[in-house]
């Protein structure tokens, strides 16, 4: 790759979301902004090797995208009032970029547009991946286990909705902020959890989704310093990410949380997470992500005291279940209870949610159930539960681990 290609690729990596956010915020048309930018990047790759990389690559790309857009408007004979409006918006964008010698960072506004309550929930995280982070549709489809054509259609629909419904590219007013922020944080956390299944980065195509989500989390926490939940989410992600190196052994085999070598946990990252939890708590507004971060913190205690604080984990899950009614939280609470009070108590807590029909294909429920049955000595029932968990698992390393556990029942 020539230096010009590398520079263009770097501009794409670092500048794409910023440029797109800026163009979209000015024009409210994401799909057109994407097309114009794609064209600008193609022009850059063609021109820069001959002319050299311009002093301000982002300003160059913005100008190219703007020109392309205005050409398109002329060719398509867009109604003159609509054209005037867009021309004005694009001129304004250009002028602002020139006077400030920099393009204002409006990526948070773009995140809020993508995670707007009017956008279908399954489209929100994919929209953020595509627009803010510049992921291609194929990679997004793989991350969400969806056929590429179906994912592309979902993204096209969401963009049309943003344009046609006039969804604002703005940070919500205080009255709406809590609800809208929840949706945005939820989408970012979804990006993070999609990256969780690939701890070794085995897929060379995938840019680390977990790292990208942490980057988004930092962005939100920085722009909204008075809000505790972005700090809670960032702390939650950092806590989980700090354990990355310990989640697989040298042979690539899965290592469960309580068997992980704590010396492999990333201490500076754990400390950063702890500091964020304390800062968030100072606001006196506990909510979902702060609670989940506190649970991770109680697990992380093992790195400092030699033992996870299971009693604290149970209490925190009590709070989470009360707050969200989540069956996932109820399952995790049962597992924590089995650690602090014994497997029979844990199993009784699992039985309390066993009727939920969603559990038929929910692997963590069956894995938890199998483990607790094994610990109570009910080998036959444990084997049957392990089979359900094995049959529902996506990750080959985790499937191997469950098969070994099942074989170990004797």
């Amino acid at each position: 790759m020539t230096p010009a290609h590398t520079a263009a690729a770097q501009a794409a990596r670092s500048g794409y979301g910023k440029l797109l956010a800026y163009l979209a915020a000015q024009t409210r048309d994401l799909a057109e902004a994407e097309d114009a930018l794609a064209d600008a990047f193609a022009k850059a790759l063609d021109a820069w090797p001959r002319t050299g990389v311009p002093a301000s690559p982002e300003a160059w790309l913005l100008t190219a995208a703007r020109n392309r857009w205005l050409d398109g408007l002329r060719r398509k004979r867009v109604r003159s009032d609509a054209r005037d409006h867009l021309t004005l918006a694009l001129d304004e964008a250009q002028a602002q970029a020139e006077t400030h010698h920099d393009i204002p960072d409006q990526r948070l506004r773009l995140i809020f547009a993508c995670a707007h309550p009017a956008i279908a929930p399954p489209a929100r995280a994919p929209m953020i991946l595509q627009t803010v982070l510049g992921f291609d549709a194929k990679a997004i489809a793989s991350a969400f286990l969806v056929a590429p054509a179906a994912m592309a259609q979902r993204l096209v629909r969401a963009k049309a909705k943003i344009r046609d419904a006039g969804i604002p590219f703005a940070i919500p007013e205080r009255a709406d902020l809590a609800e809208r922020l929840d949706a945005a944080l939820d989408a970012v956390y979804t990006v993070f959890t999609r990256g969780w299944g690939d701890p070794l980065g085995a897929d060379p195509e995938s840019r680390g989704l977990a790292e990208e989500a942490i980057w988004l989390g930092r962005l939100i926490a920085q722009v909204l310093p008075d809000e505790p939940e972005p700090k809670g989410l960032l702390a939650l992600m950092l806590h989980a990410h700090a354990r990355r190196a310990a989640r697989r052994d040298l042979g690539g085999r899965f290592v469960p949380l309580d068997a992980q070598d704590v010396s492999l946990w990333d201490r500076p990252m754990l400390h950063e997470a702890e500091a964020l939890i304390h800062q968030a708590a100072a606001a006196g507004r506990p909510a979902r992500f702060q609670l989940e971060a506190a649970i991770q913190s109680a697990h992380a205690a093992r790195a400092f005291t030699g033992q996870a604080d299971w009693a604290a984990v149970v209490i925190l899950y009590d709070g989470l279940v009360a707050m969200t009614g989540s069956v996932v939280a109820a399952i995790n609470r049962a597992v924590a209870l089995s650690r602090s009070e014994g497997p029979a108590q844990g199993l009784a807590a699992l039985d309390a949610v066993a009727e939920d029909p969603r559990l038929a294909d929910y692997q963590p429920y069956w894995a938890a159930r199998a483990d607790l049955l094994a610990r109570t000595g009910d080998k036959a029932a444990a084997a049957a539960a392990y089979d359900r968990a094995i049959g529902l698992e996506f990750d080959p390393a985790l499937r191997d681990f469950l098969q070994e556990r099942r074989a170990g029942l004797g």
């Binding site: 969806v146 056929a147 179906a150 294909d361 359900r388 094995i390 049959g391 529902l392 996506f394 098969q403």
Partner: protein, 115 residues
């Protein structure tokens, strides 16, 4: 809606597996089948014998040709299939991703043409 999950893999690799790895793979497939049944998604499915045990047949211009082996000479061969009931392609793809065959080969997911 019904979907067919067709499992393609390099059969020479499967045949060269150590016996304990083969048993582990079979156990994983059995567990997968049981989970499909328990979730009410299982319609049918079978493992196929290696391609060398079969034949291809075609009739052209009134002439019947019978040949050994598979239709196309590819690296991966059809080794088995599941027929499942799923609400939509998304759900079918999720089941396909859980299939132990997806970790060693490739699954093709196709909706069944409803007659």
């Amino acid at each position: 809606m019904q979907y067919m999950l067709m499992i393609y893999s390099d059969q020479s690799r499967i045949q060269a597996m150590a016996p304990e790895d083969g048993q582990k793979m079979m156990a994983a497939f059995n567990a997968y089948t049981e989970s499909l049944k328990a979730a009410g998604a299982y319609v049918g499915g079978d493992r196929l014998q290696p391609t060398s045990t079969g034949a291809t047949v075609r009739v052209r211009d009134g002439q019947t040709q019978v040949l050994d082996g598979p239709y196309a000479d590819t690296k991966e061969q059809l080794g088995g299939y599941y027929l499942i009931e799923a609400a939509d392609l998304d759900e079918a793809v999720k089941w396909a991703a859980r299939c132990p065959g997806a970790a060693v080969g490739t699954l093709e997911v196709r909706p069944v043409w409803a007659m």
